[in-house]
């Protein structure tokens, strides 16, 4: 017994629509993070490699120590900060003798960032869940000034 032609047509049409729906859902889920782009503010000089007034592509999590992170520092379009992730959620952050220690290990290149407003020993503080402790060269817009960066502020990871 052969399958009637309209049934084959119906099954084929259903498969095509199902594939289209799966493709659309997958694209809507995975693609937006790869089209995330922000502009470096005009006066920005807090992190090497970022040129003011140029666009920067961002990617989605996961984030790791040493990654460049872009985040909101206010409501305006130019209120954007960039920093290097020094502390991950659950890490203990403290200043000892002017050095930034994360989990009792020195943060590389911390010295160029300077001290915390004249205080050489402070903490420890545990970085809360979903938050990151970020540092940048002159502490203009990093965690020393803004506190830990939360999920509502994070824009994405700076693409290499």
């Amino acid at each position: 017994m052969t399958t009637p032609e309209p049934v084959i047509w119906a099954i084929r049409t259903l498969i095509w629509f199902a594939a289209l729906a799966v493709g659309l859902v997958a694209a809507a889920t995975w693609l937006p993070p790869y089209f995330n782009r922000v502009q470096v503010p005009p006066d920005y000089e807090d992190l090497g490699g970022l040129i003011p007034m140029t666009g920067v592509w961002l990617t989605a999590p996961p984030y790791f120590p040493g990654d460049g992170l872009a985040y909101r520092t206010g409501d305006g379009p130019e209120d954007i900060g960039f920093g290097i992730i020094a502390g991950m959620p659950g890490d203990n952050v403290r200043l000892v003798g002017g050095d930034l220690l994360v989990e009792d290990a020195d943060v590389p290149s911390w010295k160029e960032f300077g001290t915390y407003r004249g205080i050489y020993d402070i903490g420890p503080m545990t970085v809360p869940a979903g938050h990151y402790f970020v540092v940048s060269r002159f502490h203009q817009r990093d965690s020393m000034v803004l506190g830990v960066i939360g999920p509502d502020q994070i824009l994405g990871k700076v693409r290499e």
Binding site: F17, Y120, M125, L146, D152
Partner: protein, 265 residues
């Protein structure tokens, strides 16, 4: 194939198409609601950054009505003075699909119960939130909370629980005259929220309790407290409390603000 069979297949396909159309419409409606909820939640966060707590709660409540099972708008919408808010959070916790979301909601429930003077009564064993809530409960019961050292093996604490725990424990250590613990909690709060209204006072306390900070710098930090948003009577109280906690700085503070140390031994 007879015309009857053709008609049957046609009607079956029409029915299936209508069902698929209905499901699609429901999915699209759900997507639109979720989209509005995301926009409103984002706007609520913006309002929170501008210290407009009531506006943030209104927006978050609207978002929570659209997506009742989502924890973020539900948590943002919570008014600690509203007794029904706790019941709503219990429902949200029960419906949370992700473990991390459930932990966040349970931590908020525990914190709200403690703030209302009740036991936290939430299952948070093996998490930093659980230990922090226990420490807060110990202080509220008048017991020594012990040293607070969070382990790397535990799930990290949530922001509001950590902030509340450091605040309660700092106040307790301050009242007990434990300088190093007061300093540790003040330092943690300062690292957590360096732009908070109370940051100048915390900075003054951390600086004054540092054995290496010159007196001139300590006085400068004290002046920042007086010039800050909480200047006036509250600043006087902060300076007096720091002088009471730190006898080594009392002479320097007395030289600049004699009234702040009046009556202290």
């Amino acid at each position: 194939m007879t015309s009857g069979q053709r008609n049957a297949i046609g009607f079956a396909m029409l029915g299936a198409g209508l069902i698929v159309l209905l499901i699609s419409a429901l999915m699209i409606w759900g997507g639109v609601q979720r989209w509005f909820a995301v926009v409103e939640t984002r706007e609520a966060f913006d309002q929170l950054r501008r210290d407009r707590v009531e506006d943030a709660r209104k927006l978050a409540r609207r978002a929570a009505d659209r997506v009742p099972d989502e924890p973020t708008p539900a948590l943002l919408a919570v008014d600690p003075t509203d007794s029904e808010a706790l019941d709503r959070l219990v429902t949200v916790a029960a419906n949370c699909r992700r473990h991390v979301d459930r932990q966040a909601v349970l931590a908020a429930i525990g914190l709200m119960r403690l703030a209302a003077g009740k036991p936290s009564d939430v299952q948070l064993e093996g998490t930093a939130d659980g230990r922090l809530l226990q420490a807060i409960a110990a202080v509220r019961a008048g017991r020594d909370p012990g040293k607070l050292k969070l382990s790397k093996d535990e799930e990290p604490p949530h922001y509001q629980v950590l902030r509340a725990a450091h605040t309660v424990l700092m106040r307790w250590a301050w009242q007990e005259g434990k300088v190093s613990e007061t300093r540790a909690h003040a330092g943690a709060l300062l690292l957590l929220r360096p732009r908070a209204p109370e940051a100048p006072a915390l900075h003054f306390l951390v600086g004054a309790s540092s054995p290496v900070m010159p007196e001139a710098d300590v006085i400068r930090l004290g002046e920042a407290v007086r010039d800050g948003r909480d200047g006036g009577v509250r600043a006087e109280a902060v300076i007096r409390a720091v002088a009471a906690l730190l006898p080594m700085r009392r002479a320097a503070i007395a030289a600049k603000w004699p009234k702040a140390v009046e009556g202290l031994p």
